[in-house]
Amino acid sequence: MSTFAEFLINGLSLGSVYALIALGFVVIFRATEVVNFAHASLLLAGGYFVAVLHEPLGFWPALAAGTAGAAVVGAAVEFLVMRRHRGADHSVLAIVTIGVDILLATELTRRIGTDILALGDPWGDAVVTLGPVTIAETRIAALLAAALLITAFLLAFRHTSWGVAMRAAAESQETAALMGVRLGRVSLGAWAVAGALAAVAALFLTVFPTPGLERGTALAALKAFPAAILGGLDSTTGALAGGLIVGVTESLATGYQTDLAFLGRGIGDLAPYLVMVAVLLIRPAGLFGTKELARV
């Protein structure tokens, strides 16, 4: 039972980190209707900034700088690439983001090389023991930080002018423009927020028990894709639910791997995708996604 509780808490913690990534993904999709395949590279960029800066600056300033840096990279992608093609077909723009992803990933991979970079977090490998349950401090920190950021984001989304503009643009770009919403700003803001959230997620994907930031970190970030898709690409609630489902599934499948040996090894990595396929078979628009409705 105690191992189950550990798996569950670890899964929720991991899921909340996926939710951060998926949230950024959904924000860009809602604001611009573009599927951002460069998201994993934004995350890697954020993590890289923190890794490089934590020695000269110390951890907390480095985290702030890394978050800001990833936000700037996101905004720059919007400003330098996406904006030039605004009005183009959304599927064309999605392919443009693949190009951006290749560029960013190549440069970051060149810089990181085969190293495994530490991010200098203060938690190290410390654990908290609550009765029979042992949890890494980093997992608790991840859960708290993600909960805090997601709450702040959702409150801003509901109540600030930025949020109103974002939601209006998500429903209809043209009507939002007619009401005086600056679409360029909405789109820029979405990319910056997505970058910042991804940087924080990068931190928690690379702390204990993971060895550190490496080239493969972007692959871990890819698990946010099934999270966003199974939640429904255009739903913030869906991103949260999807993130948690993927995190818990992965944690449980990995944890009980030995009992699932008949499925072969590595089922943990595969499980999120299986869940996604299962959900999409039943609800093609995802759990909370808007169904595509055609009015005749």
Binding site: V164, A176, A177, L178, M179, G180
Partner: protein
């Protein structure tokens, strides 16, 4: 208000979508504080005209080719849509287009986004909208998608008023509304105008539009074919026959006059083959 410059001046405007010209050398003026209407059937270019003013043609793959548009003396050419709103021109889109997943309250808030700061002015704009359409205050917390058609139209107008425009562009506000609701929207337009906002009203419901407007233009396949004081147009045979659906007797007699412009619009076929009984309803 003050200022003698017309609320809107369109001169020699030519606009289109790729190779298709939807408007050809259209000129029109909305005097400060006036209600002006543009009549025409489907495909006459009415919506293109409004999109050219609000600078949203690019959402439809279109562009202004030549000509100028100015609001209160300020040229609008080359501006982004949000700057047009900031310049005091706000459009209520055809088909209402309320933000269905947002609450009524948030829809109105979205309408006020173009004006930054100034809480007092925003609160005053909201009071004005709630006075004009009390139902919007009652339903503030409901998703806009759950409102009735008439209420959605009220919301669409109210949302545009949140930007406190000096010129309101209305694209077919009576579209798909029951006659009683259309009359209520007409009353609201009259009231908004009485409060000092100029209105450019695009309508297929010519009877309603000509009652509201002081001046009217008739647009046919992208060109202004008739213009003048609304009362005069309402009395003219051409408009009575083709837009108000009265005085059908001469339809066969003036066929040569019609060939003067080779008209492609759909409603024209209706006038060529007279239908017995009440003449065609407004083209829906």
């Amino acid at each position: 208000m003050g200022g003698t410059a017309p609320a809107l001046t369109v001169e020699d405007l030519t606009a289109g979508y790729g190779p298709v010209r939807a408007l050809r050398r259209v000129s029109l003026t909305v005097p400060a504080g006036a209600v002006v209407t543009v009549l025409g059937g489907n495909g006459a270019g009415k919506s293109t005209l409004l999109r050219a003013v609000s600078r949203t043609l690019r959402f439809h793959g279109g562009d202004v080719v030549s000509g100028t548009v100015a609001a209160a003396g300020r040229p609008l050419g080359g501006l982004t849509p949000d700057r047009v709103v900031a310049a005091g021109v706000c459009q209520v889109p055809e088909g209402r287009q309320v933000f269905a997943r947002m609450t009524v309250e948030d829809n109105l808030r979205a309408g006020g986004l173009a004006r930054r700061g100034d809480r007092a002015a925003k609160a005053a704009a909201l009071r004005r909208v709630h006075t004009l359409f009390p139902v919007l205050a009652d339903r503030a917390r409901q998703p806009a998608g759950l409102l009735s058609g008439g209420e959605q139209q009220m919301l669409a107008v109210g949302r545009a008023l949140m930007a406190a425009p000096e010129l309101l562009l209305l694209d077919e506000p009576s579209l798909g509304l029951a006659p009683l609701m259309a009359a209520r929207i007409a009353d609201a337009i009259r009231e908004i105008n009485a409060q000092g906002t100029a209105v450019l009203l695009v309508e297929q419901n010519a009877a309603l539009a000509l009652r509201l407007a002081s001046h009217a233009y008739v647009l046919e396949v992208g060109e202004v074919t008739l213009s003048g004081p609304a009362a005069e147009l309402a009395a003219s045979d051409e408009v009575r026959r083709r837009y108000l659906g009265v005085g059908d007797a001469g339809a066969a007699g003036d066929a040569p006059a019609r060939t003067a412009h080779p008209v492609l619009s759909r409603w024209d076929e209706g006038t060529r083959t007279p239908v017995p009984g009440p003449r065609r309803k407004e083209n829906r």
